[in-house]
Every structure is written in structure tokens, then in C-alpha cells.
């Protein structure tokens, strides 16, 4: 029988291709579960999970919470805005206090890269990284790859372009790791200022022309312009960005094939993607959200099965 090779899900970098396949196969089962009249299984009755969000999030947090509840786990939520973090408590103290109340697993989003890895070395609980700064967002990458597998049958051999703010994006980095482990061909596309230097060393090609990138790919993953992470101007105006890198119906109509359009949300309609594209049948944005719950159920279930 199969199990994950890791104790925590800190990033895609740390897991293997067979881990990803196991997560996908388990998610297939949970996807069937969440489409039943009664969407709940009793597997994790005796597990308590704390969701620690030191950074704002709506969909990731809701998705995790639903996944946990559909596995029958007990859930406690914590957000930094209303906590003792503001009173000067350290991360390890905060988490150890929560663990003292007998919590088995921690789902954490934190603004600092590596926060999950750090925590996993200092506390006794399974850690799931729900986004650490501009580093990794492994569950998003897994649900993106799972959605590609669902739309196109498999990920191996597919051409995927990630468009937008690669520099500040944890989604981009985790996606690159996941897609490459699954055998896809990955390109990034965006203004030079938002592409990390030396990204070619990861085996990722850079394309600065959106139409050329779209022509090459099977899947376009349009990232959000993250104004909150930009401490300086990376492009002159949003309007100029939209004209060069916003995906429009005209781009899609110019192709002789149907590509799959993805977006991790939240969408800035009319900036990185027009409404006509976001609402078109080629966009699988809401499928991504649905798959997110199944993928997170699979990850939590597989990690929980290793708690003794």
C-alpha cells in the first residue's frame, strides 16, 4: 500500500512525483464524495486541525475549512489580526500554545518565506503550508495540476505558460515545481521586471510576448497582479500592463486551437483577464475552486494517516 514520503506538506520542492500521483488518486475519490447528497466522511473524527492565517485569505481558508469539516475533523481558526501576535508573541510560542490544547495538524499561511519549514522543525504537529510569502503555495499548485489533468487527461507532455507577476508569486514557483515533476513543459510570460533573474536555470523558458506564448501553449495560467506585494513600480501603469499582458477574447479567437485558461483567483477583471475570457467555457476557474476542496481533503487525509 502507498503512503506519502513526507510528514509535512511544506512545498512541492520536497515531495516526489509518486506523492503527487497518490494525492491525485486520493482526490479522485474525494471528488466523488463531495458530489454526494451527504458530502461528509467520518475518517478524521479524532483529529483536530488549527488553521493559522497570519495573512489575509478568503478562498484558501474556506477551502481548507470545508475540506477539514468534510473529513469530520475538529477545526479551530485563528487570524493574526485578532490575536496575541499583535502583543508581541513569537511564532513558536503562539503555535505551542495552540498545540497545548491538543491539536494534531496545523495549516498555516504566513507572510515570511520558510515559515512552515521553520515551524516543522520546532513543534510537534503536522504542518501544511497554505502559502509562505513569495515562496510556495503547494496546495494551489496541486489543484492547478489536478485541474489540468482533469481537462486534458494528463499533465505529462502538456505545454503550460504562466503569465504575469512571476517575481512575487508563490503560485508560480509551486506550479513550476509541480508541472515539471509531472513532465509538463513550462514557460513564463510577463514584463522583464516581474520575471526573476536566472529563472532559466530552473529549466523554464521566458517569453515576453503574450500572443507568442498563447500560440505555443495548451494551458495558460493567468496570475493576479499583486499590488500589495509591489514595493516599487514594476510597470508604468496598470493600463499599460493590461494592453501587453491582459488576456482577451481576441487572443483566443486568433488561435486555431482551444487552450485551457486558468486563474488562481481572486480575479482583477479587466486587468490580467477580461470578463469575456473569464466567463468563457475555456476558463476552468471555478473547476479549480471545486478541485481545491478535493485536493486538500486528499492531502489532509494522507498526512493524518501517518499520525500514530
Amino acid at each position: 500500500m502507498k503512503e506519502l514520503s513526507v510528514e509535512h506538506l511544506l512545498g512541492i520542492k520536497y515531495i516526489t512525483e509518486s506523492d503527487i500521483q497518490l494525492i491525485f488518486e486520493t482526490a479522485d475519490r474525494f471528488k466523488e464524495v463531495i458530489n454526494r447528497p451527504i458530502k461528509k466522511v467520518p475518517s478524521l473524527r479524532d483529529i483536530t486541525i488549527a488553521n493559522l492565517f497570519f495573512e489575509n485569505s478568503t478562498r484558501t481558508r474556506l477551502s481548507f475549512e470545508l475540506a477539514e469539516k468534510r473529513l469530520s475533523a475538529d477545526v479551530v481558526n485563528f487570524s493574526a489580526a485578532s490575536s496575541s501576535v499583535k502583543k508581541g508573541e513569537t511564532l513558536i510560542d503562539t503555535v505551542n500554545n495552540i498545540l497545548a490544547m491538543k491539536v494534531d495538524m496545523v495549516v498555516m499561511r504566513h507572510p515570511d518565506p520558510g515559515a512552515g519549514l521553520f515551524l516543522s522543525k520546532h513543534v510537534k504537529a503536522r504542518i501544511i503550508n497554505a502559502g509562505d510569502g513569495a515562496h510556495e503555495h503547494p496546495t494551489q499548485a496541486l489543484l492547478d495540476a489536478y485541474s489540468i489533468r482533469e481537462s486534458l487527461g494528463e499533465v505529462a507532455g502538456k505545454k503550460v505558460v504562466i503569465v504575469g507577476d512571476i517575481l512575487h508569486s508563490r503560485v508560480a514557483l509551486s506550479n513550476i515545481f509541480a508541472l515539471q515533476k509531472l513532465g509538463a513543459d513550462v514557460k513564463v510570460c510577463g514584463p522583464k521586471t516581474l520575471i526573476p533573474k536566472h529563472i532559466e536555470s530552473m529549466g523554464v523558458a521566458v517569453e515576453t510576448n503574450l500572443q507568442a506564448a498563447i500560440k505555443w501553449c495548451d494551458v495558460a495560467n493567468m496570475l493576479r497582479v499583486q499590488n500589495e506585494r509591489m514595493d516599487m513600480s514594476y510597470f508604468p501603469t496598470v493600463r499599460e500592463y493590461t494592453q501587453q499582458y491582459g488576456l482577451t477574447k481576441a487572443h483566443l479567437d486568433a488561435l486555431d486551437k482551444k487552450i485551457v485558461v486558468m486563474h488562481p483567483g481572486p480575479i482583477n477583471r479587466g486587468v490580467e483577464i477580461t470578463s469575456a475570457v473569464a466567463d468563457s467555457p475555456q476558463a476552468i476557474i471555478l473547476d479549480q475552486v471545486e478541485n481545491g476542496v478535493a485536493i486538500r481533503m486528499a492531502i489532509i487525509y494522507l498526512l493524518a494517516s501517518k499520525i500514530s
Binding site: M1, K2, E3, E25, T26, D28, R29, E32, V33, R36, P37, I38, K40, V41, P42, S43, L44, D46, L71, Y301, A304, S305, K306, I307, S308
Partner: protein, 175 residues
């Protein structure tokens, strides 16, 4: 060897006839094969009912009980989930669970919980090819049984199906 291919075939015919006796035309009855090993028996019975006994229609679903088991995190081997496929409504239907071996009864206990997610059946029956007597942990007994067997705990009943294992046979083996 407990049963050879011919004996299995005879038992299947008897089980099919017993099902017909209680369910006549299967209009209000659904068969549920318990994953992973009960589905072969369930498919054989469905084929017999349709082709040999000319039952007009038989609904068959597969139920995976992995997420409902009471030994999650207690067993040495992690459990692998199988496909659940129930494309019909079980509300107010007569459900027949089908599994190859009834041993402790814990799988059936899990299946009883799992089927609730698909509605409230009018009644549930249990059909097994092999019933291991005196080894139950729970008050669960089969309504239809192919063969009753006395096996001590160190022994294991191994059911092999042509579709998966290349032969039809039931063995009693030392663990």
C-alpha cells in the same frame, strides 16, 4: 481448497435463485458490491441474473468503505481508497450488500455507515460467498451465504476470481 470452479458456479446459481425468491424482478432492489473484492462476486451475480434467469434489469453499484473504517491510523498498512460508483438513488430501495468473505463484520459495519450518505434504504441485506463462523466481532450475520467455514484466526480464506487472479477458487491458507 475449499471450493473449486464448479462448486463456485453451483453456489452462484443457488445464491442467484435465493435472491430472485426474495426480490422477484428487482424493480425495488439494488445490488451493492463492497470494494475491493466484493465487486467480482457482484458482477458475476448480476450477469447470471440477467443472462441466465432473464431478470429484466439489475442495478449494481460499487461502494468503497475506506473512509468509513474504524481502524484508520490503527492498522499497520495505510489503506488505499477505491472507486465508489452508485449512479442511482438508494432512498426507499432494498439494498443487498455483496462481499466475498464475511469475517469480523467490521467492513459491513463501515458499509452500513457509508451507504447512509446515499439516502435511507428501506432495508439492507447481506450476501457473502464465504461466511467464517464464530469469528464475528459485531452482531452481523449474512442473509445469503455460499458456504459456511470454520477457520481459526491464524488461517485466512483466499477467494480468487478469474477476472483478476486467473482462476475461480477458494482456498484456506495458513497466515
Amino acid at each position: 481448497m475449499l471450493l473449486n470452479a464448479t462448486e463456485i458456479q453451483i453456489a452462484l446459481h443457488r445464491l442467484a435463485c435465493q435472491l430472485i425468491e426474495n426480490h422477484t424482478n428487482f424493480a425495488e432492489t439494488v445490488l451493492i458490491g463492497i470494494q475491493p473484492r466484493g465487486i467480482f462476486l457482484a458482477e458475476r451475480l448480476k450477469a447470471l441474473l440477467l443472462d441466465h434467469y432473464k431478470v429484466p434489469q439489475v442495478q449494481l453499484g460499487y461502494l468503497d468503505i475506506t473512509f468509513y473504517r474504524d481502524d484508520f491510523r490503527r492498522s499497520q498498512n495505510p489503506l488505499e481508497a477505491n472507486k465508489t460508483q452508485i449512479d442511482f438513488i438508494v432512498e426507499d430501495k432494498k439494498v443487498v450488500f455483496i462481499d466475498d468473505v464475511l469475517y469480523t463484520g467490521r467492513s459491513i459495519r463501515s458499509a452500513l455507515t457509508a451507504i447512509q450518505s446515499f439516502g435511507r434504504p428501506q432495508e439492507i441485506e447481506l450476501l457473502t460467498l464465504i461466511d467464517r463462523r464464530f469469528s464475528r466481532h459485531l452482531p452481523i450475520q449474512p442473509d445469503y451465504r455460499g458456504r459456511q467455514v470454520d477457520a481459526i484466526n491464524g488461517e485466512r480464506v483466499l477467494v480468487r476470481w478469474n477476472e483478476q487472479d486467473g482462476e475461480d477458487a477458494v482456498y484456506l491458507v495458513d497466515n
